[in-house]
């Protein structure tokens, strides 16, 4: 039985991996097409600020970048370069794209994980509180707060936090993930955390509402289920019911949801990083777009898609491994709720 389940799960994972592969490929095509559609001339962008550049020199750059080749060929060249690990050179930063991504991803990863964990814990706790006291005043207050938070643009919340904590209270710096004028290696972990705090707080505030509302919904379903009714019939009190049935049945969907929310997390980090001038992928990608830095824009797009698909992939695996129902065939026809 165990072996069979393992095989079933592996098969599902294989299938999913194949899907991810096709999706990544498609993402690269879409991103490439979109980037080449742009009316902005990359050569013009590149030579801007370089003084007088003759037509011949421009032509040489075009030739060097392969811009004169037909689109399919350009795409294939680009793709094969990426597969060999060469993502090109950023026009904006004049550094290899792979290097910039690696460098900035550490910052973004710290930011996203902090707020991911924070929003997960806050959201799940609030969701449980709402679920247990559903229909009571605690529930309606938190619910209202969550609904309002869903309507707040990330960047505006960032601005408000900036106003309150940096401008008025003076607790936090106004920007940059490390203090200016100090070499990167000299920055202590505390200083990093200090600069991370506000963007992370902003990002967690934007996403915990979603977790909280989903957890509430799930917990209400659980608490109004027949098996919880039966648990009450057997004399279990609310806390025992939460311990035995509530967490067991809500934690898994909540964690899955958190892993599946990487896309929104990434989008949020673009905004939060811009508000707080935090040097991560998000501020890099918006700068890349504004400055027509196509290699960097494409590189980060592909990277973020990979990141999102990994999140979904982990979510699927967790569900498959932890939930005993996945990957098993039902032995007798009518076993599940008929």
């Amino acid at each position: 039985m165990k072996r069979k389940r393992l095989i079933n799960i592996s098969k599902a994972i294989g299938k999913y991996l194949f899907r991810v592969l096709t999706l990544l490929l498609a993402t690269s095509v879409v991103a490439f097409v979109l980037a080449s559609l742009s009316p902005i001339d990359p050569v013009q962008q590149y030579v801007m600020g370089a003084g007088a550049v003759s037509m011949e020199q421009r032509e040489a750059i075009s030739e060097y970048w392969g811009l004169n080749a037909p689109p399919t060929e350009r795409y294939l060249n680009w793709l094969s370069a990426i597969l060999r690990g060469d993502m090109g050179v950023s026009i904006l930063y004049r550094q290899p794209v792979a290097y910039i991504i690696a460098d900035r991803f550490i910052n973004t990863f710290a930011l996203m994980m902090t707020s991911w964990i924070l929003s997960g814990i806050i959201g799940f706790t609030l969701g449980c509180i709402m679920g247990i006291w559903r229909g009571k005043w605690v529930d309606s207050i938190i619910k209202r707060v969550c609904l309002v938070l869903c309507s707040v643009p990330t960047f505006w919340l960032g601005l408000v936090f900036l106003l309150i904590f940096s401008v008025w209270l003076g607790w936090f710096p106004i920007g940059f993930s490390s203090p200016i004028g100090i070499a990167d290696s000299d920055v202590s972990i505390w200083q990093r955390l200090y600069h991370l705090a506000l963007p992370a707080l902003t990002l967690s505030f934007i996403s915990f509402a979603n977790v909280a509302m989903h957890t509430r919904q799930k917990l209400v379903d659980v608490l109004e289920s027949d098996y919880v009714l039966f648990a009450r019939a057997r004399g279990e009190d609310t806390w025992t019911i939460m311990k035995r049935h509530g967490f067991r049945n809500t934690l898994l969907p909540a964690i899955t949801l958190q892993f599946a929310s990487f896309a929104e997390l990434f989008g949020g980090s673009v905004l939060a990083e811009n508000v707080f001038s935090y040097p991560g992928l998000g501020s890099a990608v918006s700068a890349a777009g504004l400055n027509s830095d196509v290699p960097l824009l494409l590189g980060i797009t592909l990277f973020s898609a990979l990141f999102v698909f990994s999140g979904n992939f982990i979510a699927n695996i967790i569900y498959g491994v932890v939930d005993p129902r996945i990957g098993e065939e039902r032995p007798h026809g009518q076993a599940i709720g008929d």
């Binding site: 098996y227 009450r232 019939a233 057997r234 049945n249 007798h332 076993a335």
Partner: protein, 312 residues
């Protein structure tokens, strides 16, 4: 003990209604149980019979205090002579009053069934007891480690059944415990209930399998449209329509396969659409104008109770 001659459970004129919103958002009360009266003594199995929608399961939930928030309960319930209020219900359920629920959905889908059968009690004594009961019910040791979705219908029923037997409850309310079990399994389950009763416990056996009930029960309460129409010793049912008191009970008797297999005409009225007066009147062959005045009270008759002005 001076309480010994008191009934274990006495339900007196119980009524249950739900506050509902209909399509136009109008609020109204939906009366689903009214004037429901039953008595369970120690050492007795009371079978509760009636078609679906007659309020059988709600009775179980009302006794245990498990009705949803929008329910209003009227009437009185006594357990060992003391009123069964919210506080008492909380104290007694699970320990003195146990429920055998009626479907697999009453098992947590993500918990191994052995753990569920034992409940919140983690003592070794409880574990031993659970294994004994599982063995008695022909559930193998491996069953403990299975999740509900891995059980067959009959196995799930037996696991549900075991939950009440594992406790030392004085009163067991079994809500349709046998459907899905094979006949021999059902007979085994019911004989366990019989043994419990013979040890002095009280059992309410909610069922629509009157045949099985006749074999094991002491008394039958017949439900119709959320009310009790008759409470009678089981022997009377075996004797045939002549010994029965209420026209609906007689109709039930005639509907049994081994008798005439003749279903009664018409439909049980829906809650919210109940007739004035006697609830059975619209389908009753004995109906007179008297019946439409008010729902007749329960009265004693020939060692049983009946809710009919014409019964004799």
């Amino acid at each position: 003990m001076c309480h010994d001659n008191l009934p274990l459970l006495e339900v007196d004129n119980l009524s249950v209604s739900f506050r509902m919103y209909d399509k136009a958002f109008e609020q109204r009360d939906l009366k689903v149980i009214q004037d429901l009266t039953i008595t369970v003594n120690k050492g007795e199995i009371l079978a509760v019979a009636g078609s679906s929608g007659s309020g059988k399961s709600l009775l179980a939930h009302a006794v245990l205090g498990l009705l949803p928030q929008n329910a209003t309960v009227g009437g009185r319930i006594f357990y060992k002579g003391r009123p069964l209020d919210v506080e008492n219900q909380r104290k007694l359920r699970g320990s003195e009053i146990a429920l055998i629920p009626q479907s697999v959905t009453y098992l947590d889908p993500l918990m191994q069934v052995g753990k569920q059968a034992r409940g919140a009690d983690k003592s070794p004594k409880r574990l031993r007891r659970q294994r004994e009961v599982f063995q008695r019910l022909n559930l193998t040791r491996q069953t403990e480690k299975l999740y509900p979705f891995q059980l067959s219908g009959g196995m799930a029923r037996r696991v549900l059944f075991s939950t009440a037997i594992i406790t030392d409850a004085e009163l067991v309310i079994a809500d349709e415990p046998t459907p899905g079990m094979h006949l021999d399994q059902a007979l085994e389950a019911l004989s366990i209930l019989r043994e419990l009763a013979d040890k002095g416990k009280g059992i309410i056996l909610i069922t629509h399998d009157i045949d099985l009930a006749l074999q094991f029960a002491d008394k039958i309460a017949v439900f119709y449209a959320g009310t009790t129409v008759e409470e009678l010793p089981v022997a009377d049912f075996a004797k045939g329509p002549g010994a029965l008191r209420h026209p609906y009970s007689k109709a039930l008797w005639h509907a049994l396969p081994q008798n005439d297999f003749m279903p009664i005409e018409g439909f049980q009225p829906y809650a919210g659409d109940l007739p004035e007066g006697c609830l059975f009147a619209p389908r009753c062959p004995l109906k007179t104008s008297e019946c439409e005045a008010e729902n007749p009270p329960m009265r004693k008759l020939r060692g049983g109770k009946v809710r009919c002005v014409h019964a004799s």
